[in-house]
Assembly symmetry: C2
Homo-oligomer: 148 residues x 2
Protein backbone atom coordinates (compact mmCIF):
# COMPACT_ATOMS: atom_id res chain seq x y z
CA UNK A 1 0.00 0.00 0.00
CA UNK A 2 1.59 3.28 -1.03
CA UNK A 3 0.95 6.83 0.12
CA UNK A 4 -1.04 7.69 -2.98
CA UNK A 5 -3.74 5.26 -1.78
CA UNK A 6 -3.64 5.44 2.02
CA UNK A 7 -4.54 8.60 3.89
CA UNK A 8 -2.94 7.33 7.11
CA UNK A 9 0.36 6.57 5.44
CA UNK A 10 0.38 9.89 3.60
CA UNK A 11 -0.49 11.93 6.69
CA UNK A 12 1.93 10.17 9.04
CA UNK A 13 4.66 10.71 6.45
CA UNK A 14 4.29 14.42 7.25
CA UNK A 15 3.18 14.67 10.88
CA UNK A 16 3.98 11.14 12.16
CA UNK A 17 6.53 12.16 14.78
CA UNK A 18 6.21 13.49 18.27
CA UNK A 19 7.79 16.92 17.74
CA UNK A 20 5.60 17.76 14.77
CA UNK A 21 2.49 16.77 16.70
CA UNK A 22 3.55 18.85 19.70
CA UNK A 23 4.28 21.84 17.46
CA UNK A 24 0.76 21.51 16.07
CA UNK A 25 -0.66 21.30 19.58
CA UNK A 26 1.13 24.52 20.53
CA UNK A 27 0.13 26.28 17.30
CA UNK A 28 -3.52 25.44 17.99
CA UNK A 29 -3.14 26.92 21.47
CA UNK A 30 -1.85 30.19 20.01
CA UNK A 31 1.95 29.82 20.00
CA UNK A 32 3.48 31.74 17.08
CA UNK A 33 7.13 32.59 17.58
CA UNK A 34 10.14 30.35 17.20
CA UNK A 35 11.41 31.18 20.68
CA UNK A 36 8.02 30.46 22.24
CA UNK A 37 7.93 27.02 20.66
CA UNK A 38 11.47 26.40 21.72
CA UNK A 39 10.89 27.38 25.34
CA UNK A 40 7.59 25.62 25.59
CA UNK A 41 8.72 22.35 24.03
CA UNK A 42 12.26 22.21 25.38
CA UNK A 43 13.42 21.04 21.95
CA UNK A 44 16.77 21.87 20.36
CA UNK A 45 16.76 24.79 17.94
CA UNK A 46 18.05 22.53 15.15
CA UNK A 47 15.27 20.00 15.49
CA UNK A 48 12.65 22.72 15.88
CA UNK A 49 13.85 24.55 12.74
CA UNK A 50 13.79 21.28 10.82
CA UNK A 51 10.22 20.41 11.85
CA UNK A 52 8.88 23.92 11.32
CA UNK A 53 10.47 23.96 7.86
CA UNK A 54 8.80 20.67 6.95
CA UNK A 55 5.42 21.86 8.19
CA UNK A 56 5.78 25.06 6.14
CA UNK A 57 6.81 23.04 3.07
CA UNK A 58 3.72 20.86 3.52
CA UNK A 59 1.45 23.92 3.62
CA UNK A 60 0.44 23.28 7.25
CA UNK A 61 2.11 26.40 8.66
CA UNK A 62 2.90 29.74 7.05
CA UNK A 63 5.93 31.73 8.04
CA UNK A 64 5.85 35.51 8.45
CA UNK A 65 8.49 37.97 9.44
CA UNK A 66 8.10 40.25 12.42
CA UNK A 67 10.49 42.68 14.07
CA UNK A 68 10.65 43.99 17.63
CA UNK A 69 12.16 47.45 18.04
CA UNK A 70 15.94 47.30 18.11
CA UNK A 71 16.09 43.58 17.25
CA UNK A 72 16.73 41.68 14.06
CA UNK A 73 13.76 40.36 12.07
CA UNK A 74 12.43 37.01 13.28
CA UNK A 75 9.85 34.50 12.11
CA UNK A 76 6.48 33.55 13.38
CA UNK A 77 4.45 30.57 12.30
CA UNK A 78 0.68 30.27 11.93
CA UNK A 79 -1.57 27.43 10.96
CA UNK A 80 -3.09 27.55 7.51
CA UNK A 81 -6.59 26.31 6.82
CA UNK A 82 -4.99 22.99 5.84
CA UNK A 83 -3.13 22.99 9.16
CA UNK A 84 -6.31 23.62 11.13
CA UNK A 85 -7.68 20.58 9.31
CA UNK A 86 -5.47 18.51 11.61
CA UNK A 87 -7.39 19.63 14.68
CA UNK A 88 -9.29 16.34 14.93
CA UNK A 89 -6.00 14.42 15.03
CA UNK A 90 -4.86 16.47 18.02
CA UNK A 91 -8.22 16.27 19.74
CA UNK A 92 -8.29 12.50 19.32
CA UNK A 93 -4.76 12.17 20.75
CA UNK A 94 -5.79 14.32 23.69
CA UNK A 95 -9.03 12.50 24.37
CA UNK A 96 -7.27 9.16 24.49
CA UNK A 97 -4.49 10.52 26.70
CA UNK A 98 -7.03 12.06 29.04
CA UNK A 99 -8.97 8.83 29.22
CA UNK A 100 -6.05 6.49 29.82
CA UNK A 101 -2.98 8.41 30.94
CA UNK A 102 -3.82 11.70 32.64
CA UNK A 103 -5.80 11.67 35.85
CA UNK A 104 -8.86 13.87 35.81
CA UNK A 105 -7.63 16.28 38.45
CA UNK A 106 -4.39 16.93 36.52
CA UNK A 107 -6.00 18.21 33.32
CA UNK A 108 -5.01 21.74 32.42
CA UNK A 109 -7.54 22.57 29.74
CA UNK A 110 -11.02 21.50 28.82
CA UNK A 111 -12.54 22.12 25.42
CA UNK A 112 -16.06 23.54 25.52
CA UNK A 113 -18.61 25.01 23.15
CA UNK A 114 -18.19 28.75 23.72
CA UNK A 115 -21.85 29.65 23.33
CA UNK A 116 -23.11 27.06 25.83
CA UNK A 117 -20.09 26.24 28.01
CA UNK A 118 -20.81 22.55 27.43
CA UNK A 119 -17.95 20.05 27.04
CA UNK A 120 -17.35 18.83 23.50
CA UNK A 121 -15.84 15.64 22.11
CA UNK A 122 -15.15 13.82 18.88
CA UNK A 123 -17.74 11.39 17.64
CA UNK A 124 -18.24 9.31 14.57
CA UNK A 125 -21.42 10.44 12.84
CA UNK A 126 -23.10 9.95 9.49
CA UNK A 127 -21.69 12.47 7.04
CA UNK A 128 -25.24 13.58 6.28
CA UNK A 129 -26.03 14.38 9.94
CA UNK A 130 -25.64 18.08 10.57
CA UNK A 131 -24.79 18.10 14.27
CA UNK A 132 -21.23 19.33 14.26
CA UNK A 133 -20.12 22.35 16.23
CA UNK A 134 -18.84 25.41 14.40
CA UNK A 135 -15.06 25.49 15.01
CA UNK A 136 -15.36 29.24 15.75
CA UNK A 137 -17.66 28.30 18.62
CA UNK A 138 -14.95 26.53 20.63
CA UNK A 139 -13.20 27.73 23.72
CA UNK A 140 -10.81 26.39 26.33
CA UNK A 141 -11.48 26.68 30.01
CA UNK A 142 -9.05 25.84 32.80
CA UNK A 143 -9.18 22.21 33.87
CA UNK A 144 -8.82 20.95 37.44
CA UNK A 145 -5.01 20.99 37.12
CA UNK A 146 -5.07 24.79 36.77
CA UNK A 147 -7.63 25.51 39.46
CA UNK A 148 -6.47 26.68 42.86
CA UNK B 1 4.09 21.12 30.47
CA UNK B 2 4.71 17.51 31.42
CA UNK B 3 3.01 14.30 30.36
CA UNK B 4 1.05 14.02 33.59
CA UNK B 5 -0.89 17.13 32.52
CA UNK B 6 -1.09 16.96 28.74
CA UNK B 7 -2.99 14.21 26.96
CA UNK B 8 -1.29 14.98 23.64
CA UNK B 9 2.19 14.75 25.10
CA UNK B 10 1.36 11.54 26.96
CA UNK B 11 -0.25 9.87 23.95
CA UNK B 12 2.41 10.88 21.44
CA UNK B 13 5.03 9.54 23.86
CA UNK B 14 3.56 6.10 23.11
CA UNK B 15 2.21 6.23 19.56
CA UNK B 16 3.90 9.37 18.20
CA UNK B 17 5.90 7.68 15.45
CA UNK B 18 4.98 6.55 12.00
CA UNK B 19 5.53 2.81 12.45
CA UNK B 20 3.38 2.60 15.58
CA UNK B 21 0.58 4.46 13.83
CA UNK B 22 0.80 2.20 10.77
CA UNK B 23 0.78 -0.90 13.00
CA UNK B 24 -2.40 0.42 14.61
CA UNK B 25 -3.93 1.07 11.19
CA UNK B 26 -3.20 -2.52 10.16
CA UNK B 27 -4.47 -3.95 13.45
CA UNK B 28 -7.75 -2.08 12.98
CA UNK B 29 -8.04 -3.57 9.49
CA UNK B 30 -7.64 -7.10 10.92
CA UNK B 31 -3.91 -7.85 10.67
CA UNK B 32 -2.81 -10.15 13.51
CA UNK B 33 0.42 -11.99 12.80
CA UNK B 34 3.97 -10.74 12.96
CA UNK B 35 4.70 -11.88 9.40
CA UNK B 36 1.57 -10.19 8.06
CA UNK B 37 2.57 -6.87 9.62
CA UNK B 38 6.08 -7.28 8.33
CA UNK B 39 5.01 -8.02 4.78
CA UNK B 40 2.34 -5.40 4.71
CA UNK B 41 4.45 -2.60 6.16
CA UNK B 42 7.78 -3.47 4.60
CA UNK B 43 9.45 -2.72 7.93
CA UNK B 44 12.52 -4.49 9.31
CA UNK B 45 11.82 -7.31 11.77
CA UNK B 46 13.87 -5.55 14.44
CA UNK B 47 11.91 -2.31 14.25
CA UNK B 48 8.62 -4.18 14.06
CA UNK B 49 9.44 -6.30 17.13
CA UNK B 50 10.43 -3.16 19.02
CA UNK B 51 7.20 -1.29 18.21
CA UNK B 52 4.96 -4.27 18.85
CA UNK B 53 6.68 -4.79 22.21
CA UNK B 54 6.08 -1.17 23.19
CA UNK B 55 2.43 -1.33 22.17
CA UNK B 56 1.99 -4.52 24.23
CA UNK B 57 3.75 -2.91 27.21
CA UNK B 58 1.39 0.07 26.93
CA UNK B 59 -1.66 -2.20 27.00
CA UNK B 60 -2.67 -1.25 23.45
CA UNK B 61 -2.06 -4.71 21.94
CA UNK B 62 -2.18 -8.15 23.54
CA UNK B 63 0.09 -10.92 22.39
CA UNK B 64 -1.11 -14.51 22.03
CA UNK B 65 0.67 -17.63 20.89
CA UNK B 66 -0.57 -19.66 17.96
CA UNK B 67 0.89 -22.67 16.19
CA UNK B 68 0.44 -23.93 12.65
CA UNK B 69 0.87 -27.68 12.16
CA UNK B 70 4.51 -28.62 11.84
CA UNK B 71 5.77 -25.12 12.66
CA UNK B 72 7.13 -23.51 15.79
CA UNK B 73 4.82 -21.42 17.95
CA UNK B 74 4.45 -17.82 16.81
CA UNK B 75 2.78 -14.67 18.10
CA UNK B 76 -0.24 -12.78 17.04
CA UNK B 77 -1.26 -9.34 18.23
CA UNK B 78 -4.74 -7.98 18.82
CA UNK B 79 -6.02 -4.61 19.89
CA UNK B 80 -7.28 -4.33 23.44
CA UNK B 81 -10.23 -2.12 24.34
CA UNK B 82 -7.67 0.57 25.18
CA UNK B 83 -6.11 0.06 21.75
CA UNK B 84 -9.47 0.40 19.98
CA UNK B 85 -9.78 3.69 21.86
CA UNK B 86 -7.21 5.07 19.41
CA UNK B 87 -9.56 4.56 16.48
CA UNK B 88 -10.44 8.27 16.30
CA UNK B 89 -6.75 9.15 15.99
CA UNK B 90 -6.43 6.88 12.97
CA UNK B 91 -9.70 8.07 11.45
CA UNK B 92 -8.64 11.70 11.85
CA UNK B 93 -5.28 11.00 10.20
CA UNK B 94 -7.07 9.27 7.35
CA UNK B 95 -9.68 11.96 6.85
CA UNK B 96 -7.03 14.65 6.59
CA UNK B 97 -4.91 12.55 4.23
CA UNK B 98 -7.92 11.85 2.06
CA UNK B 99 -8.86 15.51 1.96
CA UNK B 100 -5.42 16.89 1.17
CA UNK B 101 -3.11 14.19 -0.13
CA UNK B 102 -4.97 11.29 -1.73
CA UNK B 103 -7.04 11.91 -4.82
CA UNK B 104 -10.61 10.71 -4.57
CA UNK B 105 -10.30 8.07 -7.26
CA UNK B 106 -7.27 6.47 -5.54
CA UNK B 107 -9.00 5.69 -2.22
CA UNK B 108 -9.00 2.01 -1.37
CA UNK B 109 -11.50 1.93 1.47
CA UNK B 110 -14.45 3.96 2.61
CA UNK B 111 -15.88 3.77 6.09
CA UNK B 112 -19.64 3.41 6.23
CA UNK B 113 -22.35 2.73 8.78
CA UNK B 114 -23.05 -0.96 8.23
CA UNK B 115 -26.80 -0.77 8.85
CA UNK B 116 -27.41 2.08 6.40
CA UNK B 117 -24.42 2.03 4.04
CA UNK B 118 -24.01 5.76 4.63
CA UNK B 119 -20.53 7.34 4.80
CA UNK B 120 -19.39 8.30 8.29
CA UNK B 121 -16.94 10.90 9.55
CA UNK B 122 -15.55 12.41 12.72
CA UNK B 123 -17.26 15.47 14.10
CA UNK B 124 -16.94 17.58 17.18
CA UNK B 125 -20.19 17.41 19.12
CA UNK B 126 -21.46 18.33 22.56
CA UNK B 127 -20.68 15.48 24.93
CA UNK B 128 -24.34 15.46 25.92
CA UNK B 129 -25.55 14.92 22.33
CA UNK B 130 -26.28 11.28 21.71
CA UNK B 131 -25.72 11.05 17.99
CA UNK B 132 -22.67 8.85 17.78
CA UNK B 133 -22.59 5.66 15.76
CA UNK B 134 -22.15 2.34 17.54
CA UNK B 135 -18.59 1.17 16.69
CA UNK B 136 -20.01 -2.30 16.01
CA UNK B 137 -22.11 -0.73 13.28
CA UNK B 138 -19.14 0.19 11.09
CA UNK B 139 -18.00 -1.43 7.90
CA UNK B 140 -15.52 -0.80 5.13
CA UNK B 141 -16.45 -0.86 1.50
CA UNK B 142 -14.08 -0.73 -1.45
CA UNK B 143 -13.22 2.78 -2.55
CA UNK B 144 -12.72 3.92 -6.15
CA UNK B 145 -9.07 2.78 -6.05
CA UNK B 146 -10.21 -0.84 -5.66
CA UNK B 147 -13.02 -0.78 -8.20
CA UNK B 148 -12.44 -2.20 -11.65
Amino acid sequence: MDASHCGVLATTGIVGDQWSLLILRDAMLGVRRFDQYQRHLGVSRTVLADRLGKLVAAGILTREEYQEQGERPRWEYRLTRKGWGLQNVLLALREWGNRYLVSEDERLLELVQASTGEPVELALVRSSDGVRIDPRDLDHRPGPGLRP
